[in-house]
Amino acid sequence: MSGPTGPVVWADVPPFPTAAKKQLAKEEQRATLSRVTHQIRAKRAAVVHERDDWEDLRRAGEQIKTRVLRHLDTYLEQAEQALTDAGVTVHWAVDADHANRIIYALVSETGETEVVKVKSMATAEIGVNEFLAKRGITAVETDLAELIVQMAGDRPSHIVVPAIHRNRTEIRDIFTEHMPGVPDDLTDDPAQLAGQARRHLRQKFLRANVAISGANFVVADSGTLCIVESEGNGRMCLTLPDTLISVVGIEKIVPTFADLEVFLQLLPRSSTGERMNPYTSLWSGVTPGDGPQNMHVVFLDNGRTKALADPVGRQALRCIRCSACLNSCPVYERTGGHAYGSVYPGPIGAILTPQLRGMDDPVDRALPFASSLCGACYEVCPVRINIPQVLTHLRGKAVDHDRENRKRGVERTAFRAATFGFDNDLLYNAGLSAGLPAAHVAAGKDGLRWLPFLGGKWTASRDVIRPPRQSFRRWWKQQTRAPAEQGEP
């Protein structure tokens, strides 16, 4: 099995349980996350419930993406042909490093040392900003939240709202410290903050000659790329510079232009709780004298074909990065995104990260366990990814990985012993008959406040409720036997 194929995760973040503990202690962050996730949840619910065909839309989204994944090779070649015909140069990148080298070479050719960026998960996944920075090229994020994260030297904690963990007072402080020309009396009024960011970014847009973007969708038959956004910064990046480099995961294909109508309804409602997002940009290659004249698309694998080979896990590739699963997740709501240690946080991150990277690293093996399997993610997913199913599937893979490496021996032995006991009438009955009376006495009237070892993880926050004197089956046996013993029919 190959090792990490790209940055995807931050090397200094420990496995989820430990990372989560650190994040849970940040009370202000927790309050912000709880407030904002509940707001987005309510907005989404309102615009979803007004559509009586919502379930049909979800099924359509699921089926289009499933079809694309089944015939991905054909659609990718069709997209390559259409893009090439429209004057776009198509590149294929097997992993993050490969993609970064392609991008660096393209930027170098232009002689520019500053590029503007449209918010994109694919470019975050490959760490292109860091790659270019080491080679003297500054990549400026132009999405407001992404800019905040970048200026603060922070990390994104959400797929759509990367600065969700910051409140507006913190944002004011970040601007004051890092943004040139900020007035001393800048307040934390959202309109003022947005105005300040607009003035700062406008200069960047006007002098940029190179833009780097991702794409939400690529239409295979027309070679059309599509980006949805809220702020208009994307539109600036896609139209003003002369060179446009778009990094696109190979799963972003939709077969025809008509298929876009399904996703352009599903995505904004699921993502920001809007009926329609403010800006939808579509472009089909180079138009002489209008917009970028030098266009490139870098199709990125970086572990995707590995995920595609897994019959259960591949459904994660249907993801359209809406973040509804993050916003609905009771775990994400409390730990925030940084605990997942990946550019893909939340439930989708817990199934995507280990599939893109493999399971050699303990961080990747811990992620599928970062869920109570409550199913809130699956319920809201616009392309019906059965996240709990993939989570339990990947837990099996994590356990198998440890089996090969002779780790987790105690746990495995315990589960084997449990199966042996549960699958044996005598042992099961004897266990209940012997264990319960003892446990009943040991727990006392008020139950237990403290247990040793693994049980201590439970009693850290909960009592152990007192077990009964006898099991249900013993009671049943006594009751059904009683009439016969009394000599009654």
Binding site: L373, F415, D463
Partner: protein, 260 residues
């Protein structure tokens, strides 16, 4: 109609009263209930912890125990979900075609208690009497896998004397999740803490749910804050009557004794 009780291992060992209550309610409605003693654990702890192969013998045992019955009823949405969501997958993984076809026939007959009461027996009012304020936590598997919807709210509001109080963020997970509660103990604790806040805010005398495992979690955290709120499985509320009170807890229901 031959009805088998699928008690589940957690209820068998920790909550026998929930089993007694289920039997009492069904007998009151004229259903004879049998208890196949070869049943044990459904394998969910194994499956959810990644030990899928270890769960397969328990799938076979389930089929052996319950195959002869018209209806298999359980006071656990979580264990019923395990059967519906994962058994077919495990049988396929085991490459056992006989098991697959047995399951295809059996699984639709495996019902959560409220499905049997409201869908099959077509009753909302089971004749219970429970003069207390109650708040209901719709446990995740019942809510999102079995889609129990308003079945329990309907059953509970039909109970004489019962006042059902709304629980804030009721649909949010209590943080149990089986091994999740110890493997990610800090996150689980943060989740159950919010749930307890919301339960206490209702001022209800009783917290109820479809699953004792979730109640074990919520009540374990609840008692550290207040011993004023009781917790009990919804079946135990439905079993309590004006005439008999909670007598079902210790004795066989009246119908059974009359038979004897």
């Amino acid at each position: 109609m031959r009805v088998a009780l699928f008690i589940t291992c957690v209820n068998d060992a920790m909550f026998p009263d929930t089993g007694k209550a289920t039997v009492a309610v069904l007998r009151r409605l004229g259903q004879e209930v049998e208890f196949p003693t070869s049943q044990s654990c459904c394998g969910q702890p194994h499956f959810n912890s990644g030990y899928q192969d270890e769960a397969i013998p328990l799938v076979r045992r389930f089929v052996r125990a319950f195959d002869d019955y018209d209806v298999v009823v359980s006071p656990s949405a979580s264990c019923v979900s395990m059967v519906h969501e994962n058994y077919a997958y495990l049988a396929a993984k085991a490459g056992d075609r006989q098991l697959q076809s047995d399951l295809a026939a059996l699984t639709p007959r495996v019902l959560e208690l409220s499905q049997l009461l409201t869908d099959v027996l077509q009753v909302d009012d089971v004749g219970a009497y429970f003069p207390h304020t109650v708040t209901y936590h719709p446990a995740c598997h019942g809510l999102r896998t079995l889609h129990l919807g308003d079945r329990y709210p309907r059953l509970l509001t039909a109970v004489e004397g019962l006042t059902l109080l709304d629980l804030q963020d009721a649909q949010e997970c209590c943080g149990f999740g089986g091994m999740f509660s110890v493997k990610n103990a800090d996150t689980s604790a943060a989740m159950v803490s919010s749930k307890v806040d919301n339960v206490l805010a209702t001022g209800a005398q009783v917290l109820t749910s479809t699953d004792n495992s979730c109640l074990l979690n919520m009540a374990g955290a609840l008692v550290r804050r207040s011993r004023a709120t009781r917790f009990m499985h919804a079946a135990e509320i439905l079993a309590t009557t004006r005439a008999g009170g909670e007598s079902w807890r210790e004795t066989m229901p009246a119908v059974a004794r009359a038979d004897a």
